[in-house]
Amino acid sequence: MTLAIILVIAAALALVFILGVAASRSLQISSSASLAGQIQPIDVEAFRVLVDPAEDDYLRRRLSAAEFRVVRRERLRAMAAYIRIAGRNAAVLVRMAQGALTVGDADTAEAARRLVDNALLLRRNAAFALLRIYIALAWPNSGLAAVAVLHGYEQLNGSAMLLGRLQNPAAPVRISATL
């Protein structure tokens, strides 16, 4: 009977989740007009400094082991904050670009397709990078490669600018504070 109860609870939770997705889908469609306003610009240079291994090496040499762990954790938390915003921006861009996929103009559709792929890649990399950051928070002395996220974000920035220019030459989408 315990097994049956577990299965019934699991099925009920799955059903609630799926109905929730269905409800949120209809809300998404109605609120898709204000997507561009949800993008938060990110200072890519500041993020680049945070993920630079040379900076870590320098701090490791200059600080005691205990001090280094404290500073490293702070830097990792800052990194995670940047990556979460980058991931959220990527999600917004996926929705914006998917809307542009069906536009009759082939150039815009192609730019949109490229942007969707780059944004999905960034979101995937962001998930992996966050996982690594959370692991690194437990072991601050371990190595960490968030460079893939940085590279992906720069590429995404270019794609978003391109799509923005093609859709509205006067007001390109700006997702980086340094551009």
Partner: protein, 225 residues
């Protein structure tokens, strides 16, 4: 539509034919009980195979066109499939055998096993697409939503039915619940497949006069960031 979702149409037609055949074996007096249960087993196996192929079709439609996540999705769904099969096998091993006839209790367990794996895979597809904020094709969303609702309700029902005696009068309540759910889902599929969605006109995109230069410059940035 048939070209877009061929497996779904095969599933819809074959399921209807198989269910009608099973109903015929149930009501024709000359058909023995053993023959009915063999027909039930055949029906369950056909439906299980079709459902898993249909889940594959849904997955391919939702993620197949996105190179950056398609491989990761395939990897994850295969791994989850293996885990779900093991979990369903463990659930079947620990399920109570309330029928003295192996062919009957086996059919119930097969139903439960199918619904555990099916609902798990469908939930994964929804979670994965939700994380990446993918916009679904309306018809595909309707198919997936209906299939998911049906599998979740059937899973809960079969989990309870597996613990009720073969002649327990409460069985009929859950049998009717399953039938009502499936009929509601069929109506949902009709709605999503036959009722056209509201057409929103895409705005005409104004392109700059010198957009080839912009293209070349930005493509350079994409190729060599």
């Amino acid at each position: 539509m048939i070209r877009q979702v061929p497996v779904f149409f095969a599933f819809a037609i074959l399921t209807a034919v198989a269910d009608l055949t099973e109903y015929a074996t149930d009501v024709i007096p000359t058909v023995s009980a053993a023959t009915y249960w063999r027909a039930d087993w055949a029906n369950l196996l056909i439906q299980a195979v079709l459902k898993f192929v249909l889940v594959g079709e849904i997955f391919a439609h939702v993620f197949g066109s996105y190179e950056s996540i398609a491989r990761l999705g395939q990897l994850l769904i295969r791994a989850l499939g293996v885990i779900l099969v093991f979990a369903a096998a463990i659930a079947a091993a620990y399920a109570s055998q309330n029928s003295p006839h192996g062919i009957i209790s086996g059919a119930w367990l097969l139903d439960q096993t199918t619904f555990i794996v099916e609902s798990g895979l469908l939930v994964f597809i929804f979670v994965f697409s939700l994380y990446f904020h993918l916009v679904w094709d309306r018809r595909l969303f309707g198919i997936s939503l209906g299939l998911s609702i049906s599998s979740c309700v059937h899973l809960a029902s079969w989990a309870i039915l597996g613990n009720l005696g073969a002649l327990d009068p409460k069985r009929m309540i859950f049998v009717f619940l399953n039938m009502a759910t499936y009929h509601a889902v069929v109506l949902m599929w009709f709605y999503y497949l036959l009722v056209p969605s509201k057409v929103t006109a895409s705005p005409k995109v104004p392109l700059p006069e010198n957009n080839l230069d912009v293209w070349n410059r930005e493509l350079e940035r994409l190729v060599r960031p």
